[in-house]
């Protein structure tokens, strides 16, 4: 008997998504020392945002949230992350995933990350985290510029990386518009 099967490989299966998430988390944690660079007096570390964009585009919003959460936990355990960045990363990852899913456009995905982590997260921290930790709502809006510059850098790197991976034929973004 001769049969012929034609199948497409995709990141769709749970196994693949879990494996990609594992590796993305490892990137998010391991790369932090290599990717920080100074802007003015502050040090900016765009790795987390960069990984968020990759996870959002490749794995979708839910897995992106898982990835961001696990990165946050591990970074806190290792003493290299801040609790403040923790909810922010998750919001950004989710928005990025949602935007990408709706538009199939990586720039929209990256935009979701910037809006989520750069703008919504500081406000959310100000209203939800700060009262617990600091006893009052304080204008964490002061953090916006630093958050924003690091997310923009991270999102830009994310787009760059996706381009590169696609050209290398490592990932395939179905129906993707540039």
């Amino acid at each position: 008997m001769i049969i012929e099967v034609q199948t497409r490989k995709s990141i769709a299966s749970d196994t693949r998504k879990a494996a990609y998430a594992v590796v993305l988390v490892a990137i998010g944690v391991a790369l932090a020392p290599y990717t920080s660079f100074p802007i003015g007096i502050a040090k900016v570390n765009p790795t987390q945002h960069f990984v968020n964009v990759l996870a959002a585009v490749l794995l979708g919003p839910w897995w992106a949230v898982v990835t961001a959460a696990v990165i946050g936990i591990i970074r806190n355990v290792l003493g290299v992350g801040t609790l403040l960045a923790f909810p922010g990363g998750m919001i950004g990852a989710f928005l990025a995933g949602l935007f990408y899913r709706q538009t199939r456009n990586v720039y929209a995905g990256a935009g979701g990350e910037v809006i989520g982590t750069g703008l919504i997260a500081p406000v959310a921290s100000a209203f939800f985290v700060a009262p617990f930790l600091m006893g009052k709502v304080i204008p964490l809006v002061a953090l916006v510029p630093s958050f924003l510059s690091s997310t923009i850098a991270g999102a830009a790197l994310g787009i760059l990386a996706l381009n590169l991976l696609q050209r290398a034929d490592i990932v395939e973004l179905a129906g993707r518009k540039m």
Binding site: A19, V22, A26, F37, I74, L83, M134, I170
Partner: protein, 222 residues
């Protein structure tokens, strides 16, 4: 010590402690809490690791305190720094007594989807792997004259770093996925080698800490 309590019990206790930290508004409450945490750390024999870890976490707490001071006043700032330090110390104690695998697997029993728990318990394994690959890429590029020392100049050469690293990382992900598949990752009906059950000790521990928490909260309000 490690397996005295179910991971879920430890989560509950850690949550109680977190509530206590968050509800504390004065140094006279926050400082003793830190004291208790340090005693715990020493009791589980992680004093050294904690000291090393503090070196990394302290600046973060101080920075956070400074921001708060700047936007509010110094007292709030100091408290914020201490509260943050206490919170992350709870994290530290929790994770030095619980392996990610135990935590992940016990959470599966509490309803977490297995793939999520898997990511959680496995990722830590691959951090050094990616770290090694990153180091190799840096070495290989520097060896042929492409400057990749951290800083602005490196930014221009970023593709030389990220390119090889990501391509290898995604190949690793593919291989990992194949290996997981070939060991039955996606197969339904998974059992767990380690048994996660909340025993009498667990309930007792939860009850005692709950009482302590309530007592502290009431005392604080008086």
């Amino acid at each position: 010590m490690k397996n005295l309590l179910d991971p879920r019990t430890k989560i509950i206790i850690a949550m109680f402690f977190t509530i206590l930290v968050v509800a504390s508004r004065t140094l006279s409450w926050l400082l003793p809490q830190w004291g208790v945490l340090i005693v715990l750390v020493v009791a589980i024999g992680k004093g050294r690791a904690y000291a090393r870890w503090l070196r990394l976490s302290l600046p973060m707490a101080l920075f956070f305190g400074a921001v708060t001071w700047w936007t509010a006043d110094w007292k709030t700032g100091l408290m914020a720094a201490l509260a943050l330090l206490n919170l992350v110390s709870v994290f530290f104690v929790f994770f030095s007594t619980t392996t990610p695998e135990d935590l992940g697997n016990s959470l599966v029993k509490a309803g977490l989807p297995y793939p999520v728990a898997f990511v959680f318990s496995t990722s830590l394994q691959f951090v050094p792997v990616i770290g090694r690959k990153a180091k190799n890429v840096l070495d290989a590029q520097r060896a042929r004259g492409i400057p990749l020392e951290p800083g602005w100049s490196a930014l221009r050469h970023y593709p030389a770093f990220l390119g090889p690293l990501l391509i290898q990382a995604f190949q690793l992900a593919e291989e990992l996925a194949a290996a997981m598949e070939a060991r039955g990752f996606g197969r339904p009906g998974r059992t767990f080698y380690r048994d996660y059950r909340m025993g009498p000790t667990d309930w007792l521990a939860v009850a005692i800490t709950f009482l302590l928490l309530t007592a502290c909260l009431i005392l604080q309000r008086m």
